[in-house]
């Protein structure tokens, strides 16, 4: 563990949160290596952190990943395009619908197909719904990681309404497999729009509830303020993306700034940023984004066009030769697929850029000098999904 990869110049002000720790230098004691995981409640999955401790202070942390590596990049080479969507559902299993979008978008670009407007709108709605579902879980789960017992249940409870919507439309709660090259598998079922409007009210309520219960709590602030500060520039260098980067003051959201995709150019929405870059900021940003997403869903429902949901697509999907890079703003950050096609029914190679992988790669830098409880706070606030790290 000598020269670490993330060794960069650290400005003194980034070490503010270590001020207390520095007092303890003269009380130097032997180090202890603590294995957090691979089975540990805070790593929600099988992430292992080998942490070297001095008392409760972390000297060095080394994340060990790969316990759930399923080799999706290899598997995509052995499957046809429609089969691949089934797989990539399982990368970030909390927002599987959002996973499908960049892949399908890439394949559609290669095939020069455009999905009809209604399909695009429904895709956008479902993407935002999966964002809401993912974030609601985070907003509660974060409470559990800092020791509050009730927020996770409230998060789960309200997420359930959103999942019901996704299931009613796609048939799958977690793995919708609903996108098809050129459109969608099905249209929405009768009564779905009204139900979604009702659910959005529940989402706003849930945000308010969790704000009262957790974010407003002084203890929560004590636990998260100035814990795990990611400087924006360093975060970008590590590839940290999405809400994590926006919480560090980087005003960058692919929905607004990237190549226009889905129905986002038609929407009026705000990109939330926070200048602090700490765990609290990440929580705050996600809370605001949940509300923003609910607003976007309502907008989308208002302007949902009628029409077909499938473009004309050949029965046997063969994607012309070429390569394409597509990336979208997923709940966990930027997800991208670099698809190489050689004109066959399946991709020749797919590079999957998953958000959590890069988000977590900053951990060795971020965890140095914090206390054990802060490790958990930081892990929770980065919000990763193991499937998204290990792919």
């Amino acid at each position: 563990m000598s020269a670490r990869a993330g060794d960069v110049e650290i400005a003194p002000e980034d070490l503010r949160h270590l001020a207390d720790a520095q007092l303890n230098v003269e009380l130097d004691t032997g180090d202890m290596v603590l294995n957090l995981g691979p089975q540990h409640p805070a790593t929600h999955g099988t992430l292992r952190l080998v942490v070297r401790l001095d008392g409760e202070r972390v000297i060095a942390a080394d994340p060990v990943i790969g316990y759930m590596h399923r080799g999706y990049e290899k598997l995509t080479e052995f499957r046809t395009y429609p089969q691949v969507t089934t797989l990539i559902n399982r990368i970030d299993w909390l927002s599987s619908f959002a996973n499908e979008v960049p892949f399908i978008w890439g394949a559609e670009q290669l095939m020069e197909i455009e999905a009809p407007p209604r399909a695009v709108h429904i895709r956008t709605i479902l993407t935002e719904l999966s964002r809401i579902a993912t974030f609601l879980l985070f907003l509660g789960e974060m409470g559990l990681q800092v020791g509050a017992l009730t927020p996770p249940f409230l998060g789960f409870r309200d997420r359930e309404h959103v999942l019901n919507l996704i299931e009613a439309a796609t048939g799958g709660r977690f793995h919708p497999n609903f996108n098809r090259i050129g459109g969608l598998k099905d249209d929405l079922p009768w009564g779905w729009i009204g139900e979604t409007r009702d659910t959005m009210r529940i989402v706003f309520d849930a945000c308010n509830t969790l704000e009262d219960l957790l974010m407003g709590n002084e203890i929560f602030e004590l636990r998260t303020r100035s814990i795990g500060i990611i400087p924006g520039e360093l975060g970008a260098g590590y590839g940290v993306s999405g809400s994590n980067l926006r919480a560090s003051g980087v005003d960058w959201d692919l929905r607004r700034d990237g190549t226009p995709y889905l129905a986002y150019p038609e929407l009026d929405f705000k990109v939330w940023t926070h200048s602090d870059g700490d765990s609290y900021a990440r929580y705050w940003v996600r809370l605001q984004e949940t509300r923003e997403s609910a607003r976007m869903v309502i907008q989308l429902l208002d302007q949902l066009p009628s029409g077909p949901i499938m473009a004309k697509v050949p029965r046997i999907i063969k994607v012309p030769e070429g390569e394409v890079w597509t990336e979208t703003e997923n709940p966990l950050g930027q997800m991208g697929y670099y698809i190489f096609s050689k004109g066959a029914t399946g991709p020749f190679r797919t590079k999957i850029r998953s958000a959590s992988f890069s988000n977590v790669s900053i951990l060795p830098w971020l965890l140095r000098g914090v206390y054990v409880p802060d490790v958990i706070t930081i892990l929770a606030s980065l919000y990763f999904i193991l499937g998204d790290i290990d792919r």
Partner: protein
């Protein structure tokens, strides 16, 4: 979003207290059940008489969890004096639910409407080998297949 805010510690207590009075959202599962949505992908049902042993589902399955065997038989012609017909007879149609990813590709690709989704999900087994459903068992699921529901406004 300007809302009245109490001091955090008190506000949190208020939330939990209100919740306590509100009542539960859960149901006592084995005694009462929630109805899954019509489209829920619970289990795949097989309408055997529609199956032509075309193997399309088994080939498209990303997991290779459908096992089909069949043979061909000569049948007497439908009309008097017609030609003798050859039909494919299904010998074996197994779906291994231990492998199945519930993606629905097989149901979608079936050209003869022999496969259907049923929202029924209560078929867990103590032994993993029992999750291999044969065609008789898959046929039983047909009873639970719901009518397709109407579509939302604006659908074509």
């Amino acid at each position: 979003m300007a809302r009245m805010k109490l001091p955090g510690l008190v506000g949190g207590l208020g939330v939990t207290f209100k919740n306590m009075l509100k009542g539960a959202v859960t149901v006592q599962y084995p005694h009462e059940k929630e109805d899954p949505p019509t489209r829920a992908r619970g289990v795949i049902a097989l309408k055997e008489e529609n199956c032509t042993v075309c193997m399309l589902c088994a080939r498209q399955c990303p997991d290779w969890c459908i096992y089909i065997e069949g043979h061909k038989e000569k049948r007497p012609p439908r009309r008097e004096g017609g030609r003798e017909r050859t039909v494919s007879v299904l010998d074996r149609f197994d779906i291994d639910y231990a492998l199945c990813m519930y993606c629905g590709i097989c149901v979608e690709v079936c050209p003869f409407d022999a496969l259907f989704w049923s929202p029924d999900f209560e078929y867990s087994e103590a032994n993993i080998a029992d999750l291999l459903h044969d065609k008789a068992k898959l046929g039983e699921w047909m009873e639970t297949v719901p009518e397709p529901e109407p579509l939302e406004e604006g659908a074509e």
